[in-house]
């Protein structure tokens, strides 16, 4: 192909709608006959429900229905239990509530105010129970149990089949990975380092809150409009809950106002459908900001890391224990723990590794997917400890990473061989951009000290997984793309159009990417795990190739040309002395201006078992970050001077889009590193709002954030592209902590890095002098 648009920063297809205020998001939609739903939530972290009385609520004017456990346990048409991994959630609480904010009842009313009023009239008699409010309480001997037993789904996720709750404990899942013999490795080491690192619970804070509109038609068909990142998983879950085939469930997804992992797996949908079913009208529920904080969070973690090294900095053994607070329900915590575990030892060649990664039930709101998916937790530990080791050995932090870092052909912890690995290139590029070599420049006068820090990462994508796509070639040679990939800001619509445009030699402007509707789009597992460009990108590329093959067949059949004489170039077909465009070929086939060709593509990644070695990931995320900071020794105040992020993108389909993803992920990483933290008091969130839970704003930005795209193509990605959405977030916190150590010699082990923590660490250090 000569003129291509792939690799070009074309204007995004979603921009015109978004820039004029016309783009529709869930809360902008109205459905005829729609009423409003509100949810009554538990005020207790753990309590049995003795009784519920809804009579006063039902007497409020405008109230159409009140949904409680009585409606879901007695109804033969409903299985009240659901959950993506274990069926440990119920539509509303049945026997007990397990966290503050757990849904207990819901009201549908003509006006939101009537629904609100009705909530306050529902009378509930709770019997409070002892609660476990963090991981250590949950793991203590004799701790009260969140779930006495857990129901398993009929068909679970293939990658999580071996993970089960540990009976009689609050351990939701325990993922183990062993390579070599760590005890032998520690015995062979010259030095051993043991450190514990922690991260608090945080929240995604999409500016758009979760919302759902559900309608149950007279024939039992369920139609749902939802802010979901994985409509097909929601479809399956709703089909199971309401005991219908998936063909009777339709999920439509408008533009999302941000997702970041907070909108994967069922959230509001089961409750909204149940309420709509009872109210016999379409119901809309849009969460308040406070409710969002109680709906889903990012796992808090405690990570213990023990590492044995040789005098020259060679890593010999590493033992990692990752404890993730998964809250009251498993949600997708088991996979978070697994992904966190896989790469908990970091992107390093280590002969002896032992990893234990657990998701643990506590009486806190459920934790689930968050951009970085468990790896931003484990990387905080391994990248901080790399600098602890470097400092003790008097080594350069850059050198110890380059010395031990994975490279093409390295053996991963599982034994599989790693390929398409731009790790060292990322590390070297951020080091050059931050001026690593000049890092020992003179410190400024006064109390302010400058420092630089570096960190890197590796992460797996969800494997096995499926993406199917259909591309329609219309009679005027324009194309329409049907996929289940959700445009949530990451630019997927544009990238998918660019891939089809390049493959077919047509302009991306003549391609329409349809919004997600499960009635029309073929199956896609999920828009998460940074997987869409790689998987769905490949699926639409295959669908485009299918169309080209069909065009070729038409030329062969209708023009009598031998197949090897047919060539494609720039949206035209050449054979013998003839050049035709697609429109002419379609006209020839259909005999008039009309007709459609339908191309399809399927991508199915699998876990292979070769010589006893499992593959873990269809591709790897690799990246590095470098920070330059100023620390005021008198106050602990930190100023981020510069941040550089480099990510192996495989091949940039839309370079501007890639830079947006890198910068955006880095900025979220800055929030997580410096100030984001959900504060709990007896299971209650103290700061469920944007005044007390601080998000990064323009005022917090360093003068420069520099994104660097490293291109090490992947053979199976479309034009070599890999996924990049999460990568840049992961190194931020350790890079900043390492820069602080470089500046003032104190090691922060607990996020977020607030000024008072630096100040107290400096005071502590002074005492030791």
């Amino acid at each position: 192909m000569e003129e291509t648009e792939t690799g070009e920063s074309i204007r995004r297809l979603d921009y015109e709608a978004k820039i004029t205020g016309r783009a529709q998001y869930l809360a902008d939609m109205k459905v005829p006959g729609m009423c409003h739903g509100k949810i009554l939530r538990s005020p207790h972290p753990h309590a049995r429900i003795r009784s519920l009385d809804t009579s006063k609520a039902l007497s409020i004017r405008g109230v159409l229905a009140v949904l409680t456990r009585d409606d879901i346990v007695k109804d033969q048409g409903i299985d009240p239990y659901y959950g993506p991994v274990f069926k440990d959630q119920t539509i509303v609480a049945v026997e007990k509530v397990r966290h503050v904010g757990d849904p207990v009842a819901a009201v549908a009313a003509l006006e939101p105010e009537a629904a609100e009023e009705a909530l306050s009239r529902i009378e509930i008699d709770y019997e409070e129970m002892p609660a476990v409010l963090d991981v250590s309480e949950a793991m203590a001997k004799g701790a009260p149990l969140l779930h006495e037993s857990v129901r398993m789904p009929p068909h679970g996720f293939a990658d999580l089949a071996e993970l089960k709750p540990v009976e009689g404990t609050n351990i939701c899942t325990h993922f183990k990975l062993v390579k070599g013999d760590v005890e032998k490795g520690f015995a062979e080491s010259d030095y051993i380092f043991e450190d514990t690192f922690t991260l608090p619970t945080t929240q995604h804070c999409s500016l758009e809150p979760h919302g759902c509109i559900a309608s149950v038609e007279r024939d039992g068909r369920i139609v749902v409009w939802s802010t979901t990142q994985n409509p097909f998983v929601v479809r399956t879950q709703l089909a199971n809950i309401f005991k219908v085939s998936v063909s009777k469930v339709r999920i439509v997804v408008p533009y999302l106002g941000g997702g970041y992992g907070g909108k994967v797996y069922p959230k509001l949908e089961p409750l909204t459908v149940a309420l709509a079913r009872k109210a016999r009208r379409p119901v809309r529920i849009v969460l308040s900001r406070e409710e969002v904080f109680y709906t889903i969070t990012k796992h808090a973690a405690v990570i213990r890391m023990k590492t044995g090294v040789k005098k020259d900095g060679t890593l010999v053994a590493r033992q990692c224990e990752v404890l993730l607070d998964t809250g009251a329900y498993a949600e997708i915590g088991p996979r978070v723990a697994k992904k966190s575990g896989y790469t908990a030892a970091g992107p390093y060649k280590i002969p002896n590794v032992k990893i234990d990664s657990m998701s643990i039930y506590t009486n806190r709101p459920p934790a689930g997917a968050f951009r970085g998916f468990g790896v931003s937790q484990s990387a905080w530990a391994h990248e901080s400890q790399m600098d602890v080791i470097a400092a003790a050995l008097n080594m350069d932090p850059l050198e110890i990473r380059l010395k031990n870092g994975y490279e093409e052909g390295s053996e991963f912890v599982t034994g599989e061989t790693l390929s398409s690995l731009g790790l060292k290139s990322c590390v070297e590029k951020v080091a050059a951009a931050i001026g690593w070599k000049e890092k020992r420049a003179a410190q400024p006068n006064g109390p302010v000290r400058r420092g630089k820090g570096i960190a890197c990462m590796i992460k797996a994508t969800i494997t096995p997984s499926i993406s199917c796509a259909v591309v329609k070639l219309n009679e005027d040679a324009s194309a329409t793309i049907y996929t289940g990939t959700v445009e949530m800001g990451q630019g997927s619509d544009t990238v998918l159009a660019q891939i089809v445009a390049r493959e077919m030699g047509i302009s991306a402007e003549n391609i329409q990417v349809l919004g997600v509707d499960t009635d029309v789009a073929p199956y896609d597992l999920t828009t998460s795990s940074s997987r869409s460009t790689f998987h769905m990108g490949k699926a639409v590329q295959l669908a485009a190739q299918d169309l080209l093959n069909q065009l070729k067949q038409i030329v062969v059949q209708d023009y009598g040309v031998p197949p090897d004489q047919v060539k494609f170039s720039n949206g035209r077909v050449q054979f013998l002395e003839t050049v035709l465009d697609y429109q002419e070929i379609l006209f020839k086939r259909f005999g008039m201006q009309g007709g459609t060709l339908v191309g399809q593509g399927q991508v199915k990644t699998k876990v292979t078992h070769e010589r006893g070695v499992k593959t873990t990931s269809s591709f790897w995320f690799l990246g590095a970050g470098a920070a330059e900071v100023e620390v005021d020794c008198e106050t602990g105040k930190l100023r981020l001077v510069k941040y550089v992020t480099a990510v192996d993108v495989g091949k940039a389909i839309n370079p501007l889009g890639c830079r947006q993803q890198l910068e955006g992920a880095a900025i979220t990483g800055m929030g997580q590193a410096l100030f984001e933290e959900i504060v709990f008091d007896n299971g209650q969130i103290v700061n469920p709002n944007f005044v007390d839970y601080v998000l990064p704003s323009l005022g917090d930005m360093p003068p420069s954030i520099e994104p660097i795209l490293v291109e090490v193509p992947h053979l199976e990605g479309p034009f070599g592209a890999k996924g990049i959405g999460e990568t840049a977030l992961i190194p931020v916190a350790p890079a900043i902590a390492n820069a602080i150590f470089d500046a003032v010699g104190v090691r922060i082990r607990d996020l977020p890095i607030k000024a008072e923590k630096i100040f107290l660490a400096l005071e502590e250090a002074k005492k030791k002098l």
């Binding site: 920063s9 995004r12 205020g21 804070c205 900001r289 501007l656 900025i667």
Partner: protein, 153 residues
């Protein structure tokens, strides 16, 4: 008890019957169907609901509609001219100053108000003036670049 108010919305004289408790955001979104401004935090922190009231940026989630009586309201839907976008809209697209788009209306209207106060702001002023608008996708650098481009004209 509903109250009648009179507002000019995007240049159109409009009579509205509103409950005294209703916010300007609710009225604009629900009664007028202008949904470009979004509810984000509901406590005037995030900037997603920003509208221009008499040329000044306000958090419409926290302004009572009755207090806007007699006022002039501009929403993102009223920003583009006939057949042409506002230079800020063009610049936001050119520099990639948005991803999910939920904050975009608020940023553009705030930037418009700033440029009316000061047509040639420096980078520091841009950063400070827009520090009350959140972009969770993290397009801050592109937003600053886009506004600088328009400010330079």
């Amino acid at each position: 008890m509903k109250k009648q108010i009179h507002v000019r919305v995007n240049g159109l004289e409009t009579e509205l019957q509103v409950e005294p408790r209703m916010t300007l955001l609710e009225v604009v979104r629900e009664q007028l169907g202008l949904t470009g401004a979004k509810l984000g935090c509901d406590i005037q922190v995030c900037g997603a609901c920003t509208l221009l009231l008499n040329g000044k940026p306000v958090s419409a989630c926290s302004v009572l509609a009755v207090d806007a009586d007699g006022g002039d309201v501009l929403t993102i839907e009223g920003l583009a001219g006939q057949g042409s976008l506002h230079p800020l809209q063009e610049a936001f697209m050119e520099f990639g100053a948005l991803q999910c788009g939920y904050c975009t209306s608020g940023f553009i209207l705030t930037a418009k108000a700033m440029l009316e106060e000061n047509p040639r702001p420096g980078e520091a002023e841009i950063r400070s003036y827009l520090a009350g608008n959140f972009c969770r996708c993290g397009c801050y650098q592109e937003i600053v670049q886009a506004i600088k481009r328009v400010a330079g004209r």
